[in-house]
Symmetry: C2
């Protein structure tokens, strides 16, 4: 997996897991990949994934069954959403608006780009099957 260099890898992995929960790919009570499997899949160290899971567990988004693995909490979806919204409002929004203002970008242009974004990333593509992986 490709990682940005401006954020800790374990937080990007937590965001990746959170996104799968938010999108419903990993529903409540479902087992998520083991720390070893996800480490191999994302090509990072086992300890790094463990740090991500510890973080998500501290949010109450996932929980652990001894000897078995990690599972999405019954209210995992809400927990992830609450955390992301908090961060979004408190941090991302201000920086984003500041850039829009300083770079002199019109709100209309932003709206247009957003429509393109949705189409490109979340529109059902009729010709494809098995988008999961």
């Amino acid at each position: 997996m490709k990682f940005r260099d401006n954020e800790a890898i374990y937080l990007q992995i937590a965001a990746y897991v959170g996104q799968n929960i938010l999108l419903g790919k990993w529903p409540a009570e479902q087992k998520i990949p083991s720390v070893r499997d996800l480490a191999i899949e994302l090509e990072v160290n086992l300890n790094t994934v463990m740090r991500s899971y510890e973080f998500l567990e501290s949010l109450g988004a996932i929980y652990n069954k001894r000897g078995i693995g990690f599972f999405v909490s019954p209210d995992g979806h809400e927990k992830v959403k609450a955390f992301r919204k908090e961060k979004f409002i408190q941090q991302d929004l201000h920086d984003f608006f500041n850039n829009v203002y300083l770079l002199d970008i019109s709100p209309e242009e932003i709206l247009k780009w957003y429509q393109q974004f949705k189409k490109a990333n979340y529109e059902p593509k009729p010709g494809k099957k098995n988008e999961n992986k």
Copy 2:
């Protein structure tokens, strides 16, 4: 100065300097604070500010006069704007839209918040003078 913990301090300082250039507070050919002065003002180490200035110099936004100090490049405004726009388009925009989609926030709400942001941060406040510091 308060720094976020999710981005290197020297980059946040570079962004701070860049913002002053974009806002016209520090026009072309004007001398910017010495590494020592800015280090004291922002309560960081001298070396950290030097790293910020090296970075901005590599962008062509500022340049150095030996023994005197750093100055805003003739096209410093454009250089800063080009860099920020590139980063904005390539990195920030996708994450922002992704959050808007996942958190189910309406574009109309974003627009409303943006108007509030502009009023709160960039509207001239009649009662105040000497906003610089």
